[in-house]
């Protein structure tokens, strides 16, 4: 990679890593700050609502107190009138009721205001229907006799609305308590107050929950569930354990929200203020986009700057590189335009002085080498003259030495030949001994069987046993045959060895010959369900050879092929090849491994002894075949693959040489 590119990449990676770390730190820090800000915002809103709620209720209580003070004179008068004037009393009663109705019409915060006498009976009420009802055992009556009282927010079963009742003692002009003035507050006013969503954005809201998880106010995302829906979110559960706090959790819709919750013990309710996480973190996502833009800008700027920097650093190096290249081409550049005032300028100066030095030394070298060349030519000529003289005298000496060497060589060759002959003779002797020993074993084995079984057959016990008798006679019969074949094979071989075999050469028709072989072995092949086929090439002439011996050769090969083949076919072919006939006998049998290719032509060699016994060869067939083919001036060889089959090749001359014909 080029230096400039490498430098740029290093610059960019370095600045990117630093930039990334700074951005990450900044991002984590600001997201913490944003979360803290959300908490503060929610907490402030929550407290504000709580105060507003408190203030609202307290205002209503003082309104009620003021009203009781205003009504003090009327009730003092009524107390006096009570027994004397019924009409006056009734009039006053009417007057007070009208005052109460007036108050309600002016101040929408109350739904109903009523006065209870010391017996707990509603004496006057803005709702005429509730007059004369007895409420002697309710908290607002009992506690209201002593001081101003604020109730809890309940669901009024009779009115079937949520209600909050406040009350205050009613005193006469002497300061003596004569009853209780109570007011039922309009909860819609409270609900409106709480659900007012100033400063809470689009998804922010506050709501109240009572001790039974029941929503007391309207919800932003579900309409008409006030006093109907119960909520069990994390914040509600924690708040109803009398706690306050800030949390991120899933709200009643299942959305992720940030929420602040506060337990108000005086009212026995919980105030929750919350906002959706997505809205709360809007700023943060804006920040993310901003940072990505910033990051891309940084990458562009850094890349440009680093490319520029790399160029400044690499351009003098490039010049140096070119100068070096020129130097290698034999151009000595003695001036370099590099003024970077740093190590590179020093390097350039050193380079220039080096180039100058090189130019000088090359000049010297050239003149020196010319001088040398001249001297070499001179010396060479002197040497050549002297060499000529020396060679003339050497030739005479060499002639004598050659004669001696020749004699020596001949002697050695003779010695070698003698040793070889001796070795061959020893080997032949050993082979002869072995052959005699094996032959005697092979001959005596069937004789042993024949002798033994014949003796056994004379045993009266065996004569009586018809099955055994038949079997043993069979064995003797087969062994006699085996012995017969063996003896004729051995005789054949020894005749071949002693060269007493006489070939009766005549013109033999190859097709007729091989067809005879096929006919003679057809039954044998059929018994094993093997096909026996012939194939002849074009222009097949008659062959000059001994017909009986040829029959012997091919019968041997075909019988072997059938014996060692369990399925498939045996194919005999004959083709003319210039002065020879090329025969093959091919089978699809068990095959022969390569190491046995020459051994199978040895006498009594059995590839698998057990198998040979079953098949019934003498172990001499191939040895005889080879001897015959060789004596006929032919060649025999084979190719084979284990499990695939074997192919024997026999090459015999069409015409025999005259000397062979005469030879016995």
């Amino acid at each position: 990679m080029r230096l400039g590119v490498k430098l740029s990449i290093i610059f960019i990676i370095l600045s990117l890593v630093v930039g990334f770390i700074i951005a990450l730190t900044f991002f984590i820090h600001s997201s913490n700050i944003i979360e803290l800000r959300i908490q503060n915002q929610l907490e402030v809103m929550n407290l504000l609502k709580k105060n507003q709620l408190q203030t609202f209720i307290e205002e209503q209580v003082s309104d009620l107190e003021l009203l009781s003070y205003e009504l003090k004179d009327e009730y003092s008068e009524m107390e006096k009138l009570h027994k004397e004037n019924f009409e006056e009393h009734e009039k006053l009663h009417e007057e007070i009721r009208n005052t109460l109705i007036n108050v309600i019409e002016i101040d929408k915060s109350f739904i109903e205001i009523f006065f209870l006498d010391l017996g707990g009976k509603i004496h006057e009420s803005s709702e005429i229907s509730s007059e004369d009802k007895i409420k002697e055992d309710v908290d607002y009556f009992i506690k209201g006799l002593n001081s101003s009282y604020i109730g809890t927010i309940d669901y009024d079963i009779l009115l079937q609305i949520p209600s909050l009742i406040i009350s205050t003692p009613m005193k006469n002009s002497e300061g003596k308590v004569i009853g209780v003035l109570a007011g039922r507050l309009n909860l819609r006013a409270i609900s409106n107050l709480i659900t007012l969503r100033d400063g809470l954005g689009e998804t922010g809201e506050s709501y109240l929950i009572n001790g039974f998880n029941l929503v007391l106010t309207n919800l932003l995302f579900e309409e008409g569930v006030s006093f109907k829906k119960k909520i069990f979110t994390e914040s509600v559960v924690d708040c109803l354990n009398f706690n306050k706090g800030f949390k991120k959790y899933k709200d009643y819709r299942g959305e992720d929200v940030y929420g602040y919750y506060l337990w108000i013990p005086e009212r026995g309710i919980c105030l929750i203020t919350k906002i959706d996480e997505s809205e709360a973190l809007k700023e943060l996502s804006m920040l993310k986009i901003l940072m990505v833009i910033l990051f891309i800008l940084i990458i562009i700027i850094v890349t440009l700057v680093s490319l520029w920097l790399a160029r400044i650093i690499t351009s003098p190096i490039k010049k140096l590189k070119e100068a070096t290249f020129n130097l290698s081409q034999g151009k000595f550049q003695t001036k370099l335009n590099i003024h970077t005032k740093d190590e590179i300028e020093v390097l350039a100066n050193t380079f220039v002085s080096m180039a100058k030095g090189l130019k000088e030394s090359r000049k010297q070298l050239q003149s020196y080498s010319k001088d040398l060349e001249r001297k070499v030519k001179q010396r060479t000529k002197q040497f050549e003259d002297k060499t000529k003289e020396a060679e003339d005298s050497k030739k005479a000496t060499l002639n004598i030495m050659e004669d001696v060497a020749e004699t020596n060589k001949k002697l050695k060759e003779t010695e070698k030949l003698l040793k070889k002959n001796l070795r061959e003779m020893k080997l032949l002797d050993k082979q002869k001994d072995e052959f005699i020993s094996i032959t005697s074993h092979e001959l005596k084995t069937p004789i042993t069987s024949i002798k033994g079984f014949i003796q056994l057959l004379s045993d009266p016990k065996i004569i009586e046993n018809k099955r055994k008798r038949k079997k043993y006679v069979g064995i003797v019969n087969r062994e006699v045959n085996r012995l017969n074949v063996l003896i004729s094979d051995i005789l054949d071989l020894s005749r071949l060895d002693l060269r007493t075999v006489k070939f009766n050469y005549e013109k033999v028709d190859i097709k007729e010959l091989l067809d005879t072989v096929r006919k003679e072995n057809e039954l044998k092949a059929k018994a094993k369900k093997i096909k026996l086929e012939l194939s002849f090439g074009k222009g097949l002439s008659k062959i000059e050879n001994d017909r009986t011996r040829l029959l012997q050769i091919f019968t041997n090969l075909v019988v072997n092929a059938i014996n060692y083949t369990h399925k498939g076919k045996v194919l005999i072919t004959a083709n003319k090849q210039k002065t020879n006939i090329h025969f093959t006998v091919e089978d699809t049998g068990i095959g022969i491994s390569k190491k046995n290719f020459t051994k199978i032509f040895e006498r009594f060699y059995q590839v698998d002894s057990g198998l040979t016994r079953e098949i019934g060869g003498t172990g001499l067939g191939l040895a005889i075949t080879k001897e015959l083919v060789t004596k006929m001036n032919g060649k025999i060889w084979l190719e084979s693959k284990l499990g695939k089959g074997t192919k024997f090749h026999v090459l015999l001359p069409i015409n025999q040489k005259i000397e062979d014909k005469k030879k016995p």
Binding site: K444, T445, G452, L456
Partner: protein, 123 residues
């Protein structure tokens, strides 16, 4: 008296059959094997009173089988006799004596002679 057990080792099936028949007719128990390897394998599980070994066998000769028998501590004391076509020289017999061979029965043999010699060995 329990039957005497004789192990035969010969690659020639006809001879194996002949000798088995002769011995069984005389009341011997016969274990017939057709190779040295098979004989050595069977000797792991059985202990014959006499082993009758053919000398000339492919793969493993009778002499090699006998050497293996003498090498193994379990079988080294078993009685061994040879069946052979060759007549041994004195030097050859000396060598075989080191293998503690009790008799050499030459093929072809006389049935009665064979049984007589075996009877003698087992006495």
């Amino acid at each position: 008296m329990a039957k005497k057990k004789i192990m035969l080792v010969d690659d020639e099936h006809n001879i194996l059959e002949l000798v088995s028949e002769l011995l069984m007719n005389e009341g011997y128990a016969v274990i017939a094997t057709s190779s040295g390897r098979e004989a050595l394998e069977k000797l792991k599980t059985t202990k014959p009173d006499l082993i009758l070994l053919d000398m000339m066998m492919p793969n493993m000769s009778g002499r090699q089988v006998c050497e293996q028998i003498r090498k193994n501590p379990k079988t080294k004391n078993l009685k061994v006799a040879f069946l052979t076509v060759a007549k041994f020289s004195e030097a050859g017999k000396e060598k075989l004596n080191q293998l503690k061979v009790l008799d050499y029965i030459t093929k072809p043999f006389d049935n009665a002679d064979l049984l007589e010699r075996i009877k003698k060995i087992l006495k």
